[in-house]
Symmetry: C3
Subunit: 133 residues, 3 copies
């Protein structure tokens, strides 16, 4: 259901960091937003070093943008962003001051997976049973 | 007006699939959201295979993220997502269980094209006549 | 705080245009949204020419997508989009008819930077003093 995009300049992430970060994002999102791990998508966009700017100068941030279904409690989404930032720093060795996590949302009814309209938060169980049928 | 980004791991899409998928997305969006085809943007981000994860493991989904102006009826946006998923599967041969379509929006007044603020849904006609002037 | 992603087909931007455009986006966003330049992120995604379509045909647009904290006055966000479009054309030489600027938002409480939840618009001062502590 969710999509996370991690954007960096090439060389910012160690070779083994992508898999480890994907694992952590998947675990944290799954726990907080009540989605089975198998439904969490994480992609990495590693751009040339002359394509990433902070403050108008070439930079090396880790930008984590996520999309989730609208309707999760705000305090849970805040906790999600905080935990993702801390985990990303721990896994990658990048200090949190260079990490920005942003969660966006839109209505579940504006998204389709497996040919079916996504369920609103709290309605996952019935939807998942239909997917596996 | 809209922007669609199709994200995959390299090798997921056949060589001829990008043009065909762009054509279908353009046709469907144009019909449902009342925008001339010439205003529909579709881009493809094909990432290395070690940069795409599903459930914490390397995966091969087709992730279609779209942005449209806020204010279209929700039932139309749901239909848009459903039709995009079905068409994407038909054109690419990827089963729908590996396809996720997400539509996001923001106010038309938060977007500018051709130097002019975008029109709210339903106000396209006058705006388009000014663009062509 | 904000993230801007500029998407083009390879060859659309001159070699020196990325730095100049990042500088202008940073300056304009900083002025209008009251964020220090050092907190403005700008990245460029330059895709193969067969990966960018306008109206279902290969095209060469400049697509500028921005994320900012929710709660800025709408008229300011409209002015932001208008000024970004004009500046992008001036700096890159691309006519505005090929430029689309879209600003999206989500609650500041859905985003974390430097390990801290972002401040709502208007609350930047205290937050920034904590970051620098």
């Amino acid at each position: 259901m969710p999509i996370y995009t991690c954007t960096t300049a090439q060389g910012t992430l160690r070779a083994d960091a992508k898999g480890a970060l994907a694992t952590e994002i998947t675990r944290i999102h799954s726990e907080i937003n009540h989605v089975p791990p198998a439904y969490v998508n994480v992609v990495f966009s590693e751009l040339p070093q002359d394509s990433v700017y902070v403050g108008g100068e070439p930079g090396a941030p880790l930008l984590i943008g996520g999309w989730a279904r609208r309707g999760h409690p705000q305090e849970e989404t805040t906790r999600l962003a905080l935990e993702l930032s801390a985990a990303a720093s721990r896994v990658t060795g990048i200090p949190e001051r260079r990490i920005l996590v942003v969660i966006q949302d839109s209505p579940a009814r504006s998204a389709v997976e497996g040919g079916q309209v996504l369920p609103d938060p709290g309605q996952e169980k019935e939807w998942l049973s239909r997917q596996e049928a």
